[in-house]
Symmetry: C2
Subunit: 152 residues, 2 copies
DNA sequence: TATTGTTATACTCTATAACTATA
DNA sequence: TATAGTTATAGAGTATAACAATA
């Protein structure tokens, strides 16, 4: 059964028709690029990622944020500092362990996360609206499958 | 018929179940991030984009490359310079219009593009292989739909 | 004049290494 | 000693403004 839908890059021929992996790779990379470039506001992607993590997961230390975003701690120090300067997050020393700092998103930060989400969804909605209902159904099912796949 | 598959961000309720745009947005942004981070070799995404454009579309001026990648020309000057230093592209003055420069990808550059594509597809294939055949079929159809959608 | 590309300059994100404060 | 975070420093990508060469 598994081989009825080949997933691998062709190895036997020199240049075959694009396979599933290639189609998915191109679709995802292009769509993500447009999403990032055309519907972000005044924050960089690095800043947005931090705001979004704090928004969805709650207050966190810079170390945890660095781990979450797969960046080094000094990089996160700078990103958090820039967000604090702009009033989008707060930094407070942990009273129990005074080495630690707890970062939290401010009301303004929350509003910005929501606004960016709204813009990105609006950008997508405009394009999804041009598909047929059947196509949207396929995309909806695939989105659920891919979310599950990427989170494993 | 169109309203049987709602695409819009919910406006009437305070927090509804994730809609299609949200699901797709999260799936695409996370998948693209893992694809970029976990299966790239020794070139940045900016450099890879240039190599890939030259590989697939043929020799091009820095101006055309900048336009293709939606960056400013001075940025492309730097990226092309770094690629030339590493022997991945060549730069030659156009004999007809001596203001222009023609950039082309070298054999080494081509090999690198193929290797990165191979790695990214392999990374995806490993995950796609864990899906059922029916799920892969849905993802394949969605990839085709999304490629068409994003290119409009 | 207009166009192509580069240089000058600055800002952000990234990294590694070394440092401070606390545990 | 070990850990959390920062500072020091450097490299890459991005931008705008100004410049050179060519059309």
């Amino acid at each position: 059964m598994a081989e009825s839908t080949p997933t691998s890059t062709p190895q036997r021929g020199p240049e075959r028709r694009p396979d599933l992996a290639t189609n998915l790779r191109v679709a995802v990379l292009r769509l993500s690029r447009r999403l990032r470039n055309e519907s972000t506001l005044e924050v960089s992607e690095a800043q947005h990622s931090v705001l979004s993590a704090l928004f969805h997961l709650g207050p966190m230390t810079p170390g945890k944020l660095a781990e979450h975003d797969h960046v080094q701690r000094p990089s996160m120090t700078r990103t958090v500092a820039s967000l604090e300067e702009r009033g989008l997050v707060t930094r407070e020393t942990d009273p129990v362990d005074k080495r630690s700092v707890v970062v939290d998103v401010t009301a303004e930060g929350r509003a910005l996360v929501k606004e960016i989400k709204r813009r990105r969804n609006a950008w997508l909605d405009k394009r999804l609206a041009k598909l047929t209902a059947a196509e949207r159904q396929v995309v909806a099912e695939a989105a659920a499958i891919l979310r599950r796949m990427v989170e494993q």
